[in-house]
């Protein structure tokens, strides 16, 4: 088994993206780096002034940082989903996007793990977690699970990279000295020997199985931080699966966005085709629908009974202070993306065209009615008894619906012509939704304690994030994207050896033989 000495044409585009960076790239990195440094600057302010520099107070004692934490950890799930689940199920189309997903896992997990530390009142005592841990605390579970997942996903990112790194080491004549040294260390002396392949395949298949329960456990215990309390709104049994689904859908959507970005800026059209987008979109759509189902299950079971403690929170969400964000999440962030994924398919696929309900008209009507519902629910504002669902029957709502229907129908051809745009738009909405949703899970709940909030200090009874919190949030986001970008400059963002279908690897195990057959 000799290492191929030449790259194929489409592989050269990957190499070019590694080695050649234009001015826009440097501007991009400089911008991200600036934002990241600004976040660090904000954190130094917080270290000096204490958490008083944030908008958090005794009632809302968790805010943006914990929102970011849950968001990042959620995004990180995509690694396990794409690399492990699709790897095990032998979906061959995943190969060009696997590493993108795994790299997202790595970078987002890194910044997700930092967020609780930023949130600590005494970060100087973080070592107490190692010295005095109490095993019954969900934070300790989190600590163990996230650390384990961070190490595991790093290994899992690294394992399939070894042959690629070896390729780069052997054939990158233009590589600078430090690149060569880095690659030769990381390549572990890989020469593509059968023994080496056997070891690698073994390790990868074991890790692929192992990483799934770890990932599930990570987001389950993150949700249990909330689920293990008695607070109305958090005291829920479905929080584990609810959060895991939310994590998967946000992670998969973030991969769609990353795919589009790399395709556009690294010119990877040869690797990432419409087929990949469609498959990913279907995956996101399925997850999105399951997540919608979980949302209905979560809010309907509570809202049906209207228990006293839960009532105030539900009113705040459905028709009160947080109604705009809530309906943006539910309709703009979950329902609309689903439609954006479905609509371009309508009329394109013969089988779908035969289903009467899936014709453009009914779909557009559904889309517009839901949009109109959102617009009305938000603009009508809360009433004493919560949301005025009666407004949905008014003539105004139908006028709005009609207008929106026209809008949707008029965009149909455009969506069909630019399908990838539609997918990316939907995925982007889902990612935004994911962050907003976490905010809605944390902040309004903290504002709905059992005992009424009776505090003369108005600023203590609400939560308005300060510039410090926004800066740190922005810095963390920028840092995440920066880490991801730099990773894509150091290592091929598309797995070269796995996408080289012309030269099938020796089938060393039963499992991989099967997989190759499917491919």
């Amino acid at each position: 088994m000799e290492t191929p000495s030449r790259f194929q044409p489409q592989e050269r585009t990957i190499l070019r993206s590694l080695l050649h960076s234009g001015l826009p790239f440097y501007l991009w990195v400089a911008g991200l780096g600036g934002l990241f440094l600004w976040g660090i600057r904000a954190y130094t302010v917080q270290l000096q002034e204490g958490l008083a520099a944030t908008g958090m107070r005794d009632y809302v004692s968790w805010g943006l940082y914990i929102t970011n934490f849950v968001f990042f950890i959620g995004i990180s799930h995509v690694g396990a989903l794409m690399s492990a689940i699709l790897r095990i199920s032998g979906a061959a189309w995943r190969k060009p996007v696997t590493r993108m997903a795994e790299a997202i896992t790595f970078s987002s997990l890194f910044f997700g793990a930092l967020m609780p530390i930023v949130d600590l009142g005494r970060p100087d005592r973080i070592w107490h977690l190692l010295v005095y841990p109490r095993i019954q605390s969900p934070i300790v579970w989190d600590f163990v699970c996230i650390f384990t997942y961070l190490i595991g996903s790093t290994i899992f990112l690294y394992l399939p990279m070894i042959p690629d790194v070896a390729l780069l080491r052997d054939d990158l004549s233009q590589a600078k000295g430090w690149r060569y040294r880095l690659y030769s260390i990381l390549a572990l002396g890989w020469r593509g020997m059968p023994d080496q392949h056997r070891s690698l395949e073994r390790a990868m298949s074991v890790m692929a199985v192992l990483i799934i329960p770890i990932a599930v456990s990570v987001h389950t215990v993150v949700s249990w931080i909330f689920g293990m309390t008695l607070r109305p709104g958090w005291n829920s049994t479905i929080f584990g699966p609810y959060f895991v689904m939310g994590a998967l859908v946000s992670g998969a959507a973030s991969v769609v966005v990353a795919m589009a970005a790399f395709r556009r800026f690294y010119h990877l059209e040869e690797y990432i085709t419409l087929k990949h987008f469609r498959n990913m979109a279907l995956l996101v759509l399925a997850l999105d629908l399951i997540y919608i189902y979980f949302n209905i299950a979560e809010y309907l079971t509570v809202g049906y009974k209207m228990e006293e403690a839960e009532r105030g929170l539900l009113y705040t969400l459905l028709g009160g202070e947080y109604a705009l964000a809530f309906w943006l999440v539910q309709i703009g962030g979950l329902l609309l993306p689903a439609l954006l994924f479905i609509l371009p398919e309508v009329g394109a696929v013969e089988r779908i065209r035969r289903v009467p309900l899936l014709r453009p008209w009914p779909l557009a009507a559904a889309a517009s009615i839901s949009l109109a519902a959102m617009v009305l629910l938000v603009t009508q504002g809360p009433t004493q008894t919560g949301v005025d669902f009666g407004s949905l029957g008014s003539s105004l709502s139908w006028a709005v619906a009609l207008l929106l229907a026209l809008l949707v129908i008029s965009t149909l051809p455009a969506l069909r012509a630019h399908r990838i745009l539609a997918y990316v738009l939907g995925a982007g909405l889902i990612v935004i939704q994911a962050w907003l949703k976490r905010y809605l899970i944390i902040v309004p709940t903290l504002l709905s304690p059992y005992l009424p909030i009776q505090d003369p200090r108005i600023e203590w009874t609400t939560y308005i994030p300060t510039w410090v919190e926004w800066s740190i949030t922005l810095g963390a986001m920028a840092g995440f994207v920066l880490l991801y970008t730099l990773f894509s400059k150091l290592f091929p963002i598309v797995s070269i050896w796995e996408t080289r279908e012309e030269e099938p690897r020796p089938a060393v195990t039963h499992y991989s033989r099967e997989r190759e057959a499917e491919a």
Binding site: R134, I135, Q136, V144, T148, I151, G152, I155, L159, I162, L188, G189, W190, R191, M193, D195, Q196, S199, L200, R202, A203, V206, M207, L210, I214
Partner: protein, 270 residues
Amino acid sequence: MSRLLMFLLLVGLMATTTLASASSGQDQPDFQGPPPDPASLYAENCASCHGERGEGRVGPAFVLLDDHSDDEIYHTIAEGRPERGMPAWEARLTPEEISALVGYLRTLAAQAQPPAEEEPAPAHAAGADLRLVLTLQEDQVVAHASLRDEQGQPMAGEKVAFALRTTLGGKLNLGTFVTDEEGVATLRYPAGEVPSLTLEASYPPEAGDPIRAVASIDLPAGQEIPPVATGLFSPNPPPIAILLLGLVVGGVWITYVWVAFQLLRILRVR
């Protein structure tokens, strides 16, 4: 009438709280000295003569207060009763304070025990000798209060009151017991789980200032404090849970080590 009283009391209390919150800002020239908290006013000015709970000492007890209207009481406080030795207070107390005091006196009167009859304390009580001995018998603390007169003769048929002195300085009446022919009154008290017990005997029970005898006993540790009722994982999870968790997490990390070993094998292939 009681409404008026309540109103006065309320005025006093409101003034107290308002003052407490207002005094943060600027000094109130209208008020000199403490706010009209009737309880402390009473303790400072009245208790020395009328007793801490209004039971009466030099001055009379407040048992007959109900026969007088609020106005009468107000004037009595303000102008005093020089013929009985009570000073006039209007120079020293503000009208609000006196009004508040009127209300407070009513509550004291309501709580007051029926007065001890004029019957004077038995002549021999003065020189009597009261001793209290606590012993532990099985689960019970047995308190023997032995009462003797000045000649050292046991006093039979006398009432001795027992009380529990609580750990936070309270006193709980346990009832009165009659001495037997040896002059000993006996109380049996369940020891319970407290670390120590302090009991008090007093004689005669009705007197304002009886003879007291106090004794403490340290109780053996007995059973430990009942454990805190806990949830499944609070405060500490069962060892089996820790073991299982450790096994699972340990298994994962052992797998990581195994993967590292595979990497080593890749490195070693020649």
